[in-house]
Amino acid sequence: MELNLDNDFFENPKMGSLRDGFGKALLDLAREYQDIVAVCADLAESTRMHWFKEEFEDRFFEVGITEQHMAAFASGLASMGKRPFISSYAMFSPGRNWEQIRTTICYNNQPVVIVGSHAGVSVGKDGGTHQALEDIAITRVIPNLAVFAPADENEAYLATKEAYKMNKPVYIRLAREKTELISTQESNLSIFDAQILFEAENPKLTIFATGTSVPQALRASFLLEQKGLPVRMLKVSSIKPLDEETILNSVLDTRLALSVENHQASAGFGSRLAELFSENYPIKMKIMGVKDSFGQSGDPDELLEFYKLDAASIADEAEKIIKQNSI
């Protein structure tokens, strides 16, 4: 199926907010399904639950700044047949309340959707305390829990709806800053399928990106094409479950992979791919992410450049490894 991505992306990209995508989807879902309830830890507007709160006051629970309580409270709601969405900054949920998520939601197998906004260094000015760089690592290892990192606002909308349909514990990773839209509302996005967003003829390298690194990696693919370096680029929005077949097939010819994530380079998305490749089809791979350091204050763009997670840095790294590995 044609993906129908946004044609304006390269020349004149529109901006969108993952948080808005989540907030709109939650509202639309709530209008359709009576069992949806929302739980918020003093960040209603920041996580875009305020639209739900305005329309469905009865089904909105403000628990104050109690992330640990919030997770277990939601488990209780779910055990009585409700379908809770809980939201906070990713640093605090699933950061602070990891064990409550593990025990009361996942071990208990209750269908709670955990929405963590403010992931990645691109949170910006708030600095390192508020930039979640470990959330994929700590969620992907919990049984029963699905992990989604949507690529733009339209995908955040879709991810929210898919999370409801799954009827099981799900973590959705969101970002604070507005990001470039790769898609329109008419695009054929999939959360579960790894989707090829860019394919040059006779590619030498397969680039994988997740979350807000997707627009950066897609732009990098265009830059590489202009330089005459052909690559294939895939978006992986569900880190768990993982579309193993498509991902493995996409490296059979290139035998060379580069992954990009706005997260620690260790134990996250790239590491998950490395596990897959080493077990099935060992190839050379480079993982781009934050290298064992915390974030810091700054504008999102300058932070992405500093931590080498912007399109230009991705293109440079891709060029380097293509040249290193060409025979």
């Binding site: 089904r59 109690t66 309580h69 277990a72 055990s79 409700k82």
Partner: protein, 281 residues
Amino acid sequence: MYNDSKKREFIKLAPEIRVLTLKSLLHANSGHTAGSLGLVDIFTYLFFYALKIDPKKPNRQDRDRFILSNGHVAPALYATMAKRGFFPEEELKTLRKFGSRLQGHPHREFLPGLDTSSGPLGEGLSQALGMALADRLDNGYKSQRYFYCVMGDGELNEGQVWEAALHAGKEKPHNLIAIVDRNDIQIDGYTHDVMPLEPLEDKWKAFGWHTQVINGHDFDEIHSAIEEAKVVNNKPSCIIALTVAGKGYPEFERDPFWHGRPPSKEQVEKAIKYIEKHAYA
């Protein structure tokens, strides 16, 4: 109807449940003796009187809910459930063994009749509040369904308990009843040494709860406290039940040593003899 004959029934049942608890701990050769024995009377009252439950239909939707927050007292919970008919008493021998439905700490997906999985401390009250507020959405402020949460006193060291207590004080669910097993022991020693909790009743009061302090081994007191908690309609209720850890056999009583240890075969034999002898005393 609670009356003298009901009370006599409980006084007969509780020692039998204590014996089953000790036997299962012996089979497991692992588990928490003191807290389990101390809660038997409260469990007996809840499972044989207060809780609207049906062992034949453990998942029926309109049942009351029972949240055991201090999951390590599972041996007493399992013994009580077996006695109540949720599963054969014979199965108690499988406690903590591979393939058993009786996991070391309760797992609701293993054993029908459990309303949650628990063990890590401090998490039950939050879940019970979530259940009560979900019920309020469906059945309103006059719902006749009750949500019971049993917690240990050592467990009250956990900050999350007080997050939940604050939130319950805000929401005021009339049908949430917390029972604190005030046995004054935890793993490292006496609760009053490890992390003093007093004035405990004042703390709950300050968080907006209706409070009562009772003898957790006296069925009349347990009954009247639960009845009072049920009619308080503008607050959640906390019953601080003063209990004796290891209740039923003097060697196990009031000693932190028995918090996390199972008894030996000889000790169990002696304890069973003692309990049977003193059952109707």
